[in-house]
Symmetry: C2
Subunit: 321 residues, 2 copies
DNA sequence: CTGAAAGCGCTTACAG
DNA sequence: CTGAAAGCGCTTACAG
């Protein structure tokens, strides 16, 4: 339980001053410290297992190398992946991430009371926008690009268009929309694109939840002018659509085609496997963190839009004659 | 972009000394500072929007109120939920969490090089144990309770026994085991319990992945002494078993019963819905963090084992005569 | 009841 | 090329 060594201990062992240790270990010794001295310092630091005290460095520099990551929920596989990508980039640059779940769409997200030492904010998928972060640099992801902050997004419109093109190509002329009852940019975009096709014959809203989606899908499917294809805002909603179809004795995809969005694990666990849009979630997190670090370096990163990929599986087929 | 106020600024505005501000705001003024003075300080702090600089406090106190959370992957819904529970408790106590993904089962987990300011460690589901954290207090979760560190666990054995009891009650005498090819405590326990039943007629290992599970399930089901029930280490593996059964023209549950473990979203997205064990993941995270905070307070928390709950759905039925 | 002062461990301008 | 020194913003023992 011996106390952790400080730069002063290293200096004593190396036979130099504490400031020299600091210089050498910060990599700022170039041309200012004799190579042998630098060697001795590094050797002593290694022997003692010295690691700089971050609290002291932060206090001195006024920066913390910590970023706040605001997400609606970590429980969704998508956000786990986004976090993973963001964390990788942060770590490579010596930054830490503090995660702050914020699932209230009606209110602007605010900094948690106990986080006052933050260099920047990454805010994901917030219905209510962001407030109360003062001058802290911010990058939004999966969020309305009209927001003044730099944004990193999935190309949601492009993904939805890929789906409608795919369905139109199969011959579908009557689409139903199972929309997520979540008031955020990404779902607004899905709805708009579908409306623009002119092929929409019905839309039901539901929570992102299998049981809720099943009920909504029943309302959509159990009527005379039944859509020949059901476009779902999310893979989980598609799972509910499958259940409704089965309940009504309809075969997927023979009697009704179903599409999802996200390509989470559920998509390939379903039977038949789900035609959906694969979103590069980990890449989104990485790009967003990179953009934030650019901002911290004083640059103005451009808005980014990452394309998804249409994954055609067994849940879509030509409509029945 | 005015500079952030310090306790010195608050002192100036309140007309007191900096030390008095510190005392009042730390809640240690009781009987040492006149009530009016305390009022004035709090008022000034509020007006200026003062919040203490954590780096300075940490440096002074030698503590960081930060906990390192080592997890195999955040992408799994289970760990997202565990994190959510842990974060809630941490926040209530003014602690932050730094997440450190560690997915190498063969090597003991070590502290990431860039994290040196940690008060404690929460280590989850590690095959290789933990090393290199020195004297930092540690609590392990979903891990071998034989580890010397205090542990917080799911009652995996109890959950598996609930499944075998359920299947035995339905009349199953030949069980197959689709085992996760992951070398951690939780999966060892599942295998042991199943072996002890004496009803096991076959076991196949596979990655926790639908496609891999499908292949393993085919090996298990496509033979003369076919098991009447397939016990899966994980809901996702069960999804693969469904696919294999369908491929072989077997109906679930008429021709073969299938069980999962975890009750993640997939379980109720499947058709028929999956009989499985629901694990209190969020509660596990909360209990683990509470135990770690107890350790930090100098106490020795007891080992904890949280029971799961058998959720009987449509994937299990009596075996065919 | 209140304040002056020391000191946590760094970084960096400055002096030599 | 190297060191003495200031100072980041706190907490807390000590003096009054």
């Amino acid at each position: 339980m011996s106390k952790r060594p400080t730069s002063r201990d290293v200096a004593r062992v190396a036979g130099v001053s504490q400031s020299t240790v600091s210089l050498v270990l910060a990599g700022k010794a170039e041309g200012r410290v004799k190579p042998e001295t630098g060697q001795a310092v590094r050797e002593a630091a290694r022997r003692l297992g010295y690691r700089p005290n971050l609290a002291a460095r932060n206090l001195r520099l006024g920066r913390t190398r910590t970023v706040l990551f605001v997400v609606p929920t970590l429980v969704s596989p998508i956000f786990g992946a986004v976090y993973t990508g963001a964390a990788r980039v942060a770590r490579d640059r010596g930054f830490g991430i503090v995660v702050h779940p914020w699932d209230d769409d009606a209110t602007p997200a605010r900094s948690p009371v106990d986080i006052e030492a933050i260099d920047g904010v990454l805010a994901s998928s917030l219905g209510g926008g962001v407030a109360g972060f003062g001058d802290v640099p911010i990058v939004v992801l999966d969020n309305d690009p009209a927001d003044p902050a730099p944004s990193v997004n999935f190309d949601v419109a492009g993904g939805m268009r890929a789906i409608t093109r795919h369905l139109a190509g199969l011959g579908h002329r009557r689409l139903g929309h199972l929309a997520a009852a979540v008031d955020t940019w990404t779902f607004h975009v899905r709805a708009e694109v579908l409306t623009e096709t002119g092929a929409l014959t019905g839309r039901e809203h539901c929570a992102i939840d299998v049981a809720a989606a099943r009920e909504a899908a029943l309302a959509l499917l159990d009527r005379p002018d039944r859509p020949t294809a059901v476009v779902c805002d999310d893979d989980l909603i598609a799972a509910g659509a499958y259940k409704a179809a089965r309940h009504l004795g309809l075969d997927v995809p023979r009697d009704v085609s179903v599409t999802g969005f996200d390509d989470i694990l559920v998509a390939s666990a379903l039977e038949p496997e789900l035609t959906t849009i694969r979103l590069p979630a980990e890449r989104l997190g990485a790009r967003a963190m990179a953009a934030l670090l650019e901002r911290l370096d004083g640059h103005a990163p451009p808005d980014v839009s990452l394309p998804g990929e249409l994954i055609v599986r067994g849940s879509t087929a030509p409509p029945r004659r």
